[in-house]
């Protein structure tokens, strides 16, 4: 007992104690629900068995049922479109802005900080604002497109099946761009100046410097931001709730919104859990990419 106490005060016991507290926290609040979710996807769950843990085991039935539903594949495709377009948009605009602020004109860092405001905003508030911007009758986006002659009639962004997913994508790009920009700015500022001077003396012009120095030196930052982007876009729920609610007729529905809809509106907890498990697989892949890319940072 005495040895245990002294090791708690100044030995390995103290280290283990420090680590075990957050680990216990993680396990209870994230690990167990995750496992419970996976278990649930192999069980038959209804309103009456909701309160018990030991429910009939049904094997892969939930998965088979899910993929037999006609809306499953379109929703998975929507999710892929949403993730790819959001990440691409956030990354390209974010990288562009990061490069822009990197030129360090007067007030650059101040203005760059201001951009973070969009990331701090709650998704529901962002959704509400974009509802006005995207509004079919009096929205400012339609006004701009119409006045510049890009469209003839109004686009009903939120209720037109061809546009509703893109309405959420546009809002999501706006929401995530500043986070991309900040992370990429950090990556850019970590590149030593003298590398550019050396390559300039070696005869490289601006484009060649970008392709041979900036991009390769940013590899780990880009890998990290892509992986985080995948995780964040798969988490994006508020915007769907605020802008389209997945409609019309699932035209803008994605897995994360659908999982919530199945579980908590249709009370089909088993299917909700099943679709979540499929998402876990994707996020795991992204996490591995993220961990690997931050580990393989290039250091001079």
């Amino acid at each position: 007992m005495k040895r245990f106490l002294s090791s708690m005060i100044d030995g390995r016991g103290f280290d283990i104690g420090l680590v075990s507290l957050p680990l216990a926290f993680l396990l209870t609040l994230s690990g167990l629900p995750l496992l419970y979710n996976i278990v649930m996807s192999f069980q038959e769950v209804d309103m009456f068995s909701l309160g018990s843990f030991w429910r009939p085991f049904v094997g892969l039935k939930n998965y088979r049922d899910l993929f037999a539903q006609p809306e499953t594949w379109p929703i998975l495709a929507n999710t892929a479109t949403f993730v790819a377009a959001s990440i691409a948009g956030q990354f390209l605009v974010g990288f562009g802005l990061a490069l822009f602020f990197w030129t360090s004109f007067p007030g650059a860092s101040w203005l760059r900080g201001l951009f973070l405001v969009s990331w701090v905003m709650p998704g529901l508030v962002v959704g509400a604002i974009w509802n006005w911007i995207l509004s079919g009758d009096f929205g400012v986006l339609n006004f701009i497109l119409r006045e510049t002659g890009l469209i003839d009639g109004n686009i009903f962004w939120r209720s037109d099946p061809g546009f509703s997913l893109w309405a959420v994508i546009i809002a999501n790009i706006w929401l995530g761009t500043s986070f991309n920009m900040i992370l990429l700015s950090v990556g850019l500022s970590a590149i030593p100046r003298d590398l550019y001077e050396a390559s300039e003396l070696d005869g490289a012009n601006v484009w060649q410097r970008f392709w041979t120095i900036t991009l390769p030196m940013m590899r780990s930052s880009i890998g990290a931001i892509m992986a985080l982007g995948l995780i964040f876009t798969l988490q994006q729920f508020d915007l769907f709730a605020a802008i389209t609610s997945g409609g019309p007729n699932n035209a803008s529905n994605v897995t994360q919104y659908w999982a919530w809809d199945l579980s908590f509106r249709q009370y089909d907890f088993a299917k909700g859990a099943t679709i979540s498990v499929i998402m876990i697989a994707f996020v795991m892949v992204a996490s591995v990419v993220y961990v690997r890319s931050t580990r393989h940072e290039v250091r001079g």
């Binding site: 050396a198 390559s199 300039e200 003396l201 012009n205 120095i213 001079g300």
Partner: protein, 357 residues
Amino acid sequence: MTAQIELTNVNKYYGAYHALKDIELSIRKGSFTALVGPSGCGKSTLLRSLAGLENISSGTLKIAGEVMNAVPPRKRDVAMVFQSYALYPHMTVEENLTYSLRIKGVAKAERKKAANEVAAVTGLTHLLGRYPRELSGGQRQRVAMSRAIIRHPKAFLFDEPLSNLDAALRVHMRKEIRALHDRLGATSVYVTHDQVEAMTMADHVVIMRDGVIEQQGSPLELYDRPANKFVAGFIGSPAMNFLPAIGGQDGRSIILDLGLKQTIALGRTVQPGQALSIGLRPEHIELAAPGEGILSAPVALVESTGATCFLTMATTPELSVVFNGRSVARAGDRAGLNFVPGSMHLFDAETERRLPG
């Protein structure tokens, strides 16, 4: 002798700060020129101006006869070795070496051949596949130099390339760089704050302070005839002694003031009563038996490295003496001192300039 680099009346301002003041410098083709001075003297700014990494505010800068004032660095055809080496961390040694050729669009096979040739000269052949992070400091230094050599540039610019190496390696690389320079017949400009490096490596030494060239010439010229007290004190290790004195009434002697006054006859004329500063190198003071010599003083400190002996004399100001061999005098003893004839440097105490003649 043609000038490879020529600067005429060059000035550089950073806002109100005047970094380079009326620089006049002509660097002979094939020469090894050292820019030396304390930190903040403008030597790095001058080098970066040659490279085009800084733009000069006024004056003319010519490289190989062409005015380069506004030419961007990539079109100047000069190579630079950075203090940090600035190796591309995401490229192997071979890719680092051939980067400039790749930019130029040279075919891969030819690039490989060029890399092998240079690596053979600099002893990097077995390291071509490694990344910079896998190399030691000396090896990185070699890669940085090879990257410059492979281009056959009009001039090599070195920005304190040895300051990140340990003392032993520094001495070794000093010789290696100089040997490489001779073999390539290149024109080199070398920035350093270490006067020993400048003296041992260069044919032409340029001493700078506060953006001004204080003096330039061959290393021995600077050692033998420093133009002012700053140059005299900067060149030589240990540093030159400066003793206050005034011109004697007969105009052919000086009265040294080392706590007590001492008259010393000169082989030249001085103005009677003129305030002077006498420069005397530690190696030009010889020890004599106590009571003999020009003056006699107590020894404050004896430091011996075995081969060389450093004495500090308890005078005001302190005198340092250096000689080969061992000291018979110990701290606290009195010793006689003699000055090597003709070794005294006379400076005006006020302007700090060397007295003419």
